[in-house]
Amino acid sequence: MTDHDLLRGLRGRLTTAALGLARVPLGVLGLLLIPVQLVAYPLILVTVGVPLLLLFTALTRKYLGVHRRWAGAVLGVEVPEPYRVPANRGPMTRVRTIATDPATWKELAFLPLNAVIGVLTGVLPLAFWINGAYGLVVPVLWALGADHLEYSGVDASTPGSAVLAPLLAVVYLVAAWWGTPRLRRWHARFTRWFLAPSATEALTHRVRELADSRADTVDAQAAELRRIERDLHDGAQARLVALGMSLGMAEELLARDPEAARDLLSEARQSSSQALSELRDLVRGIHPPVLADRGLDGALRALALANPLPVEVDVVLTGRPEAPVESAAYFAVAETLTNAAKHSGASSAWIRVRHENGRLAMMIGDNGRGGARATDGGGLRGIERRLAAFDGTLGIASPVGGPTIVTMELPCELSSVKTSSSSGTA
C-alpha cells in the first residue's frame, strides 16, 4: 500500500465515520413514528383514526424509503418495497390492507432496533477515530507537563504509561480503520434484511403476477378459439354447404337443362374459391405461414411489404426464438404497426429487432402525430397482456406531436440453427 492509497483510505473512512453520525438523529427520529402509528389504530373507532393512520403510514413508508435507498446505495443492490396493494382506493380497504400487511408490523419492530443500531454504528467509528488520535497526543501532553492525564482507564501520568498510550491508540486506530466501512455495511444489511420483501413475500408476489397473467392468457385463448369456431361456422363451412348444394342441383339438371347446370357449376366454383380465401385469412390470423417458413426476420419483412406505409425493417437475430414466443412477437409487432397505420397519420415507420442479454427487444417507431396511450380495451393494452403471458413488457414513448416509439421486450433464448440478418425498406 502506498502513502497515497493510505491517505485516500483514511480520508474515505473519516468521511464515512462523520456522515455515519447523521444516522444517529435519523434513527432516533424514527422512534417518534411508533406511538403516532399505534395511537391511530384505536382512533379508527371514532373515524378520525382512518385519515391519521393513512397519513402516518405514508409518513413511515416515506421515512423507510430513505433507509431503503441508503441501504441499496451502500450494498449496490436495489431494495424493493414489500407492500401489498389495496384492492381499491376506498379508505377502509386501504386501512385493512395496511393493518393486515406483515410489512407494517415488521417495520414497527424495525424502528426501535434501527434506532439502537443506528446510534451504535453511527457513534462508534467516530469515537474510535477520536480516541485513537487523542492517544497519540497523550505523550506530547505529558511532556508538556499536563496533570491528571488518563487514557482508556490507564493513568498516563507515569513515563511508562505515556509509552503505553500511543500503543493503545494504534489498536484503536486499527480497529477504527477495519470497522468503519464494515459497521456501515452491517447496518445496511440489517436494514435490507428487515425492509426488503422476504423470499416468501417475493414468491407470493410472483405467484400473484403469474396467476393474473395466466388468467388473462386463458381468457384470450378461449376468446380466440370462439372467434375461430365462429369464423369457420359462418364462413368456410357455410360455403361448403352451398357448394354441395350447387353441385347436387347441377347433377340433377345436367340432362334436362345443361345451360342451368353450367351456371350452377360456375357458382360452385366461386363458392369454393371464397371458402378458400376465408380459410386463408383465418390461417394467417392463427399462424402466418411465412412466419413458419422464414422466421421473424422474413415474416416482418413480408409484413412491411403488405403495409400501406413504407416500413424500414432492421432485424439482426442469430437464431430463432421458441415458436410461441416468435408468434407472440410477430403479432405484437403486426398489431402495433396496424395501429400506427390506422391512427398515427404517419407517412413512414420503422421496425428494429435485436436479441440482447437474453431478451428479444423490438422497437416500432412512426413519424405520426403521437399521443398514443395504452387505454383499457385499446389495442396497445391487448398487446401488453399478450406479452405478459411470456413475461414480456411494453413501453410507449409518444409525446403529443410525435414521433411515437413502442418498445417491447420478451425474455427468451435463441436456437442458433439458422443465421439471419437483414435490413431494408419495403
Partner: protein, 215 residues
C-alpha cells in the same frame, strides 16, 4: 410439353396430373419433396415446372427454395409456383433474377382450368403469371406514388392485367376492347410511368413489375 410436378398432397397431385394430361402436357415426373424436386428438375430440364411452395421435409417454403436453386443452376428454367397463400416477399424473390419464365399463383386458380392452363403455357414460353392478389397488393401500396396516381381507371385496369402477365390480345379480350385500344393504353401507361416501351410482351411485363415493386 414436358412438365415436372412438385406436390406432396396425393389428392392434389393426382388432380393436377389428370388436368395437365387432359390438355396434352406430358408429366414426366411428379415428386413429393423438396430434395426430390430439385433432383428431378436438374435431371429432366422440363419445359415447365409446376411446384407447391410448401413441401416436405420441413413443410415450410421447401418447394420455393428448390425452384429458386434449380433456376440458379439452369438459368431461365420456367417455374410456376402454387401456394395456399400469396406473399409479396416470395413474388419478389421469384422475380429477382429478372429472367422471366416465372409464375406465382394461388392454388385456387386451378379451379379455373382454362386460365390455369393458359398460365402454365405462358410461363413455359418465358412469360410471367402473377396472381391478381399480388398485383392488387402492389397497386395498393402504389397509392402514394405520384405517376401511378395520374393513371385513369381504365389504364389502371390494363396495368393490373399486364402485370399479371397477360398479352395485349388477352387483355383486349378480357376488357371487350380492340387490341389497338389496349396498345394505346399501354403506350400511355409507359409514358406516364417514364418507362421505355418494348415490343416484347415479356420484357414489358417485367418492366412493369419492377416498377411496381420499387414504389
Amino acid at each position: 410439353m414436358r412438365v415436372v410436378l412438385g406436390e406432396d398432397l396425393v389428392l392434389l397431385r393426382d388432380g393436377l396430373i389428370r388436368l395437365l394430361r387432359a390438355y396434352d402436357f406430358d408429366v414426366v415426373e411428379a415428386v413429393d419433396s423438396g430434395p426430390a424436386l430439385l433432383e428431378a428438375l436438374l435431371a429432366h430440364r422440363p419445359d415447365v415446372a409446376v411446384v407447391d411452395v410448401r413441401l416436405p421435409p420441413t413443410f415450410t417454403d421447401e418447394g420455393l427454395r428448390a425452384a429458386t436453386e434449380a433456376r440458379k443452376r439452369v438459368p431461365g428454367l420456367p417455374v410456376l409456383v402454387l401456394s395456399q397463400y400469396v406473399e409479396q416477399l416470395y413474388a419478389r424473390e421469384l422475380l429477382s433474377d429478372r429472367g422471366g419464365g416465372v409464375g406465382y399463383l394461388l392454388k385456387d386458380r386451378v379451379a379455373d382450368v382454362a386460365q390455369f392452363v393458359d398460365a402454365v403455357r405462358r410461363v413455359a414460353a418465358g412469360g410471367t403469371a402473377m396472381d391478381p392478389e399480388v398485383i392488387t397488393q402492389l397497386l395498393a401500396r402504389g397509392n402514394r406514388d405520384q405517376p401511378l396516381a395520374t393513371l385513369t381507371p381504365r389504364e389502371r385496369e390494363v396495368l393490373a392485367l399486364m402485370a399479371e402477365g397477360r398479352s395485349n390480345g388477352a387483355i383486349a379480350a378480357r376488357l371487350f376492347v380492340t387490341e389497338k385500344a389496349v396498345g394505346k393504353h399501354t403506350a400511355n401507361i409507359f409514358g406516364k410511368l417514364g418507362l421505355e416501351l418494348s415490343e416484347d410482351d415479356n420484357r414489358r411485363v417485367l418492366a412493369v413489375l419492377a416498377y411496381l415493386d420499387r414504389v
